[in-house]
């Protein structure tokens, strides 16, 4: 019996690239490295124009708790430092590196055993947190939460480590390829995290549409007691941490709480492999697997892409079909990914996929949005909300009722908007209402404090 959660939706999977072996993409001449690729404050840039950098050298250090270092993925020189707008429209300090093509590695990089002189099984949570922060590892599933914060907040509080290999978004197969091509890295990463948190092992959770990965992971984990592979039913949003915890442990994590509050800590598959590399070899996070797909792409596939590579380079590498017009470039999956406004923005740590969509089969833009009260959103919402009322009250700017109907619990998974026959952009209404609602809640709690 595959594990699962309540509600949610079944999507057309479009996992076209699950058989595409990863291909390494040559680093382009110019790489654009934003100084904020995670949730939290931007990091401090420590290089100047015309500086020479080596591959893996730190170019931005995180001085705030919520941050992760940023490294150069190639050797070369700093061409310029400029402010470029990211997908959210915020201008972010970006280091432009001119690639010299030599790939000279940074001499300072070394694995845990070399630096600390101990075997990896003796690693402590503090040491792991430090290494992870220095290696610039953030959650690679899309949310980009700095991983070291997770590790230090989990220390001593959690009983279950879950490696999130659900990959429930359509199209994306980057984690699937990682699982089939390097299952031992994921297992090793989990072992490292487990020894740092003084636990015997953890759970690798995979959706049942990736049977080959389940088999390979079980084989790789075969020798290690305590590590088990859990099979999840293929349903969206299985990869959401709340639904994952519910499916694997049966615990229910309410909004506003962290997984550690119910004794869980979750790492994405790619994050786990990056932790393995950082600890064993000292390699910082400077490249990642990206799925390139969508109906406009000539040769879709999975690519190992240096961080900072502009989207345009990947589009040219894969080819865009002549007869199609790209209407949307989506970074991430079609359910929660961000639409890009041009092809110049680079691949960052959280970019799991790039989709070039013509949106030909979509509903016409001219269709009005009218709620018919069918209740499909209520049946789909994995957080058990009534999205139609959230949209209604958000539209009416009635924030008291938005709060009453539980806006703060919304995870913005998009199920409600996907199933809505009346074309209502429910998630968008919720996103508009959320900051207002939390401001009101904050004011209320401070009043109560007095």
């Amino acid at each position: 019996m595959a594990l699962t959660f309540k509600k949610g939706i079944h999507l057309n999977e479009h996992k076209n690239t699950s058989g595409c072996h990863t291909v390494r993409i040559a680093a382009p001449e110019f790489l654009y490295i934003p100084m904020r690729q995670h949730i939290g404050a931007p990091v401090t840039c420590i290089v100047k124009e015309k500086d020479t950098v080596t591959r893996g050298q730190t170019i931005g250090t995180a001085d705030k708790a919520l941050g992760a270092d940023v490294h150069s993925p190639v050797s070369g020189t700093v061409e310029r430092i400029e402010y470029l707008a990211d997908a959210s429209g915020t201008r972010i300090q970006t280091v432009v590196i001119k690639n010299d093509g030599m790939m000279t590695p940074c001499p300072d990089l070394a694995g845990y055993e070399e630096i600390y002189g101990k075997s990896i099984s003796e690693i402590t949570a503090q040491e792991l947190s430090h290494i992870v922060r220095k290696a610039g590892i953030t959650g690679m599933g899309g949310a980009s939460f700095p991983t070291h914060v997770k590790i230090s907040s989990a220390a001593g509080r959690v009983s279950d480590i879950i490696i999130n290999c659900a990959e429930c978004e359509p199209y994306i197969t980057a984690d699937h390829r990682l699982m089939t091509e390097a299952p031992e890295k994921i297992v090793k990463g989990l072992e490292i995290i487990a020894s740092a948190l003084s636990l015997s092992g953890g759970t690798i959770a995979v959706e049942d549409n990736k049977r080959d990965a389940v088999k390979l992971l079980s084989e790789a984990a075969g020798q290690t007691p305590g590590i088990k592979v859990a099979v999840l039913r293929t349903k969206y949003p299985q990869g959401d941490e709340r639904q994952l915890i519910r499916a694997v442990t049966g615990r229910r994590l309410p909004a506003g709480k962290l997984p550690a509050d119910v004794g869980c800590v979750i790492f994405n598959a790619a994050t786990c492999a990056a932790i393995c590399d950082a600890v064993t070899l000292g390699t910082p996070l400077t490249e990642r697997i990206v799925t390139v797909d969508g109906d406009c792409v000539e040769n879709p596939g999975n690519f190992i892409v240096p961080i900072g590579t502009p989207i345009r380079v990947l589009a040219e590498h894969c080819g865009i079909k002549k007869e199609k017009t790209v209407k949307k470039i989506i970074s991430g999956g079609p359910m929660m990914g961000t639409a890009q406004y041009n092809a110049d923005y680079p691949v960052v740590k959280g970019t799991s996929a790039l989709l070039f969509m013509s949106c030909e089969d979509d509903r016409p833009d001219s269709l009005p949005s009218l709620c018919i009260r069918c209740g499909r959103c209520v049946n789909a919402c994995p957080m058990n909300l009534m999205p139609l009322y959230l949209a209604l009250y958000s539209k009416a700017e009635d924030y008291d009722n938005v709060i009453r109907y539980g806006v703060t619990s919304c995870i913005e998974c998009g199920c409600c908007t996907y199933v809505c026959p009346g074309n209502v952009p429910i998630v968008q209404y919720i996103r508009i209402a959320k900051p207002r609602a939390s401001a009101i809640l904050k004011a209320r709690s401070s009043q109560e404090g007095k």
Binding site: P254, K328, Q340, D344, P368, L370, C374, G422, N423, Q428
Partner: protein, 335 residues
């Protein structure tokens, strides 16, 4: 390259894909589900039944289009909801009703009950049913189906005088088993859409199979009516026969499957739907048992329509992780 002109890129809030199920597709399914009942009605009452339906659909669509134009709103005719309303208004009138009365009913349904409150999804009472009640109160004698089987049965129960208006049903009541079969298949008189329980059930099962409606409202509505009619003693019938007469007659099945399940005027939560269905069933039976009125179903649904907002609010599900069980679990942990 095709994406070179970056100005053409569309930037929207996620999600970027949507299901194929649009309002139009849902309404088309409802129309498909109504076709068997329409076909039977044409077979039973003749071509005039078809004419009434066509006129009714045409009037509803025209009213909606004109209304949208007058108030300068984007036309919503494409979504086919006006077509469904047109069908249902026609299904609620006897075949003998003069055309102009039907047209007036359609205007009431679309303009007064639906569009004046904001159109699809905004109306708080069922347009077709409110039109039925409007016509019933305005043209009572024309709205009574001649030889209506159900009014006869009920009339006999409640008020012996009513039976005086006498029809073939007096004969029918002598062999209830046969007439129950007739009621199920539809060899009875009544308004256009209500006669054949069989055809309505076929349509209803199609709607449930296509997941246009859920089972909650029809099942709880019918079950409540069935249970109440089983409990209440009847002089003229055995308990089971009385229950079956109540279920098969008076447009109960039409109401439970096609009227009470109207999205705009029914609750959105499963629990709410059951409360709504039970309420409809109970009010229907109250009206039938204590009044000679055969309008039990219409009034019951309209009354429950008015409570939908409160039912929704009352049955608001607890957000994930904040339910009673979760709190109990936490208390355990603390202890």
């Amino acid at each position: 390259m095709a994406y070179e002109n970056d100005n053409l890129l569309t930037v929207t809030s996620s999600p970027h894909i949507r299901s194929k199920r649009t309002t139009q597709r849902i309404m088309l399914d409802v129309i498909i589900a109504l076709v068997p009942a329409l076909a039977f009605s044409v077979y039973r009452f003749g071509v005039r039944a078809l004419m009434l339906t066509v006129i009714s659909v045409f009037t509803c669509v025209l009213c909606e289009e004109l209304f949208c134009r007058i108030v300068r709103r984007q036309s919503t005719v494409y979504d086919l909801s006006a077509v469904v309303t047109g069908f249902l208004v026609a299904f609620n009138v006897p075949v003998t009703l003069p055309m102009w009365m039907l047209v007036l009913g359609d205007v009431f349904a679309i303009v007064v009950a639906k569009m004046l409150f904001g159109g699809i999804g905004q109306n708080f009472i069922n347009p077709a049913l409110s039109a039925r009640v409007f016509m019933f109160l305005s043209f009572p004698s024309y709205m009574q189906p001649t030889n209506g089987v159900f009014s006869e049965y009920i009339g006999k129960l409640v008020n012996a005088d009513v039976v005086a208006s006498a029809t073939p049903l007096t004969q029918a009541s002598q062999g209830t088993a046969v007439s129950l079969q007739d009621m199920f298949i539809g060899n009875i008189n009544g308004v256009l859409g209500e006669v054949s329980a069989l055809c309505l059930l076929v349509g209803g099962i199609y709607l449930i199979a296509r997941r246009v409606i859920s089972w909650h409202i029809p099942v709880s509505f019918l079950a409540t009516a069935a249970i109440i009619s089983l409990i209440v003693p009847s002089d003229n019938f055995g308990r089971v026969d009385f229950m079956l007469v109540n279920l098969l007659g008076g447009g109960l099945i039409l109401g439970a499957l096609f009227m009470a399940t109207d999205y705009s005027t029914s609750p959105v939560t499963p629990v709410g739907k059951i409360i709504f269905g039970v309420g409809c069933g109970a009010i229907t039976m109250l009206i039938r048992l204590f009044s000679s009125n055969t309008e039990g179903v219409s009034f019951a649904i309209l009354i429950m329509n008015l409570l939908v907002y409160y039912i929704d609010r009352f049955t608001m599900p607890k957000p994930f992780g904040t339910g009673r069980k979760d709190r109990a679990g936490k208390a355990e942990k603390r202890a």
